[in-house]
Symmetry: C2
Subunit: 445 residues, 2 copies
């Protein structure tokens, strides 16, 4: 397989991964309505048992997830309410859609979340609630407890971020000042039956972390929250409303977030309908159909993108040199979310920078192609999802007067790949399960 | 396999890799004397054909490589001369050993190289020369052309390094002002028969790069050298002796370095007797003997060590989570040479920092062990070769009051691992094929 073939195949393999996490497809694959029974991943819900079926949700992909459900349930669906990011709504018949702020939550998000809570409060033992969660769900499902304002919430998040608290520490505090996160949403839905369909945008697909776990038991406590504030010495930088609430919680003046064993969770089914791993696995299947020896390296990829790219290039070289870890034609697949430490003034994204770094590493290697692209179709602030590189990319750049080294130094990957016509443009995909990386190695010929 | 077992096995696997590149073993494996015939990797040299057999060499391991040859050849060996690093000499009978400067070449190295050149000049068509090259060979085999001093040589190298020239560009210039690099040594040996036994310390084992390729055709030209100076605008920063020599070369006043097709190379056999890849492959064999599913990821590993470690940890997590790229008990092996961008004031090395970064990534993961260690037994300026980490390492550190994050920030990996007794101490191994990284994943419990 020559370089052109490898590039074409790489794009098809990426596309297969993308298709697997298309929000509508992801929902349809995991949920079917058949003969008055709703099946969700081997669980069966006889629809005659339920008085009302409600649909709620929050996240960038939630409108796209709701469409096939409306179609499948038809008039069985009583009503619903979902929050999506601005410009992410789609036409729905029985479900109201509220556009709201992301990544920073806003009052629209709070308003929408209140609607969802009101709907849950009126749902009862004989009702079924289907909850759709996707990337951005944390910001789009926001409702602080009474007395804590949106400003207070943002201030405490900022303070925690600044002092270097981990995502788990930040989430512990957020869960304890929220009416919906940290299992509270499941508690509100109880005694209804709750099905939570999750499109994961988190490495490791930890249910406790995705959107701060609205439908799973919370492991953290009010005591933990106050210990976190003390650990970083930030009690005096926290809004008094937040501190007061946490202290009241410690003194048992407020109920803890729902823990393991809470009856709400006996009526809750959490199902991951789409994730980076799923995309990676489907990409792998496609690569095998196309005749490649293939291998999933990891769906846990994190780290500085230009360095992680070097490791992927190192695997490409080994395949060519020794046939390890697998022999050509080979396709090595990984996924996750890398980071860029911005030092330059350029324009690009983590995927394009991954590919630029790879291009430098594989310079001169025959029939080696690297692809990296974001499943949401938007890499950084650019209109590209990612890019391609092969062993000739650097030379083709130099021929156009584009020296890859200064472009990499300036974090200017977009402006390196655009004139080379090596960008991958998909447009917005309305899904997000982070990024896919492909390393393709053909025979030497 | 529990964590303790994984650690023990990891050490054994590392040791197997190390044994494979032990200088004496490496030479013995590739060269045998049997019934008056010398066999080197499927080539046979009838010893009766040769009048004299000479042994020459340069590198940290060259004395250790010479010992088994003296033993095998006995009185067939006429004489020899090798340059080793200070404190790296070993007792030899027929071969003189000169200790010299490394990594910076010194006058002792030049003196020794002149002895080698004199020996080669007196060798003739009926003689056999065995040349031993190993890590440090570039500095330890140094002889600038007449009129260029050691100071001049160092100045031009420094200038090229400072302006950001690549290793290939630096080598092009070095080869053109040297009497021995860039194929010149093979030319000097001609018409003798030349066997070059190479212990590679270079990623990719490119013969042209190892010690600046004394026994292989040179691809670069005087014209290239001057273009490199112009590319970086450093003609006026280069010692006049060097510039004069390069310009004279361009005007055909001096012969080019030996190119492909030069008769010298028809009488030269280059054999890599030890390399990172060989260590990685032997480590893999050992891991399979110990009952692991195993996989060679790459022997081309480069990049910022703490980020490359994250990629290794990501593979460990995937193995545990999905059984990709292979199922537990699993051993993933890689090798190469990572780098550390020193920002702190701590004490450590690239392998120990790799393991510290890994420890943070695998925190809390059951039965996952990471090992990284240098095959030369010396990681950075420390007395350790590397270190171990498992899922409990961070907690054990915290229990001793050692927070891994500031230790990583300060590049202080040695002082994190020493109190934990997680350092790997081998002492000097007299070999160097860069580093080995092992990721071990046992069953969940």
């Amino acid at each position: 397989m020559n370089t052109n073939q490898l590039r074409e195949d790489a794009f098809q393999i990426f596309q297969a991964g993308l298709d697997a996490v298309n929000p509508a497809q992801a929902v349809k694959r995991h949920l079917q309505v058949h003969k008055n029974s709703l099946s969700v991943s081997h669980h069966h819900y006889p629809l005659s048992r339920y008085q009302n079926i409600y649909l709620i949700g929050a996240g960038k992909a939630s409108a796209a997830m709701a469409q096939p459900l409306e179609e499948a349930l038809g008039s069985l669906l009583a009503s619903g309410f979902i929050n999506v990011k601005y410009r992410h709504s789609l036409p729905l018949k029985r479900v109201q859609v509220k556009e709201a702020g992301h990544p920073l939550p806003d009052e629209a998000g709070i308003k929408g979340t209140r609607e969802i809570v009101d709907l849950l409060k009126k749902s009862g033992e004989k009702d079924l609630v289907i909850f759709l969660i996707s990337g951005g769900g944390s910001a789009l499902l926001t409702l602080p407890v009474e007395g804590i304002s949106l400003d207070d919430l943002q201030q405490v998040t900022q303070t925690l971020l600044r002092c270097g608290a981990s995502i788990h520490e930040i989430n512990a505090v957020r869960k304890h000042i929220s009416q919906v996160k940290g299992g509270h949403l499941a508690r509100l839905a109880y005694p209804s039956t709750l099905i939570s369909l999750i499109l994961s945008d988190v490495i490791g697909d930890d249910l406790d972390t995705i959107a701060s776990g609205p439908t799973v038991p919370d492991k953290s406590t009010f005591r933990d929250c106050l210990q976190i504030l003390d650990k970083y010495g930030i009690r005096d930088q926290i809004p008094s409303s937040v501190l007061l609430h946490l202290e009241k919680g410690l003194q048992k003046g407020i109920k803890e977030s729902p823990k393991k064993g809470n009856p709400a969770f006996t009526r809750t089914q959490n199902v991951i309908v789409g994730s980076n791993r799923l995309a990676v696995e489907e990409a792998r299947k496609k690569s095998e159909l196309l005749g490649y020896n293939s291998l999933i390296l990891s769906a846990f990829v994190e780290g500085e993108t230009r360095e992680i790219a070097k490791m992927h290039a190192a695997v490409a070289k080994e395949i060519r040199r020794s046939g390890n870890p697998l022999s050509p034609p080979a396709c090595v697949i990984s996924g996750g979310e890398t980071t860029v430490t911005v030092k330059g003034e350029g324009f690009g994204g983590r995927n394009q920078e991954f590919v630029l770094s790879s291009a430098i590493e594989i310079k001169g290697w025959k029939n080696v192609v690297v692809l990296s692209a974001g499943t949401d179709g938007t890499d950084g602030p650019t209109d590209a999802a990612g890019a391609f590189a092969d062993g000739e990319t650097v030379q083709r750049g130099l021929d156009l007067g584009l020296d890859p080294y200064p472009y990499l130094k300036q974090n200017d990957s977009y402006n390196f790949f655009k004139p080379l016509e090596d960008l991958i443009i998909t447009g917005p995909t309305y899904t997000n399960v982070m990024d896919l990386h492909l390393v393709m190695v053909g025979a030497k010929d």
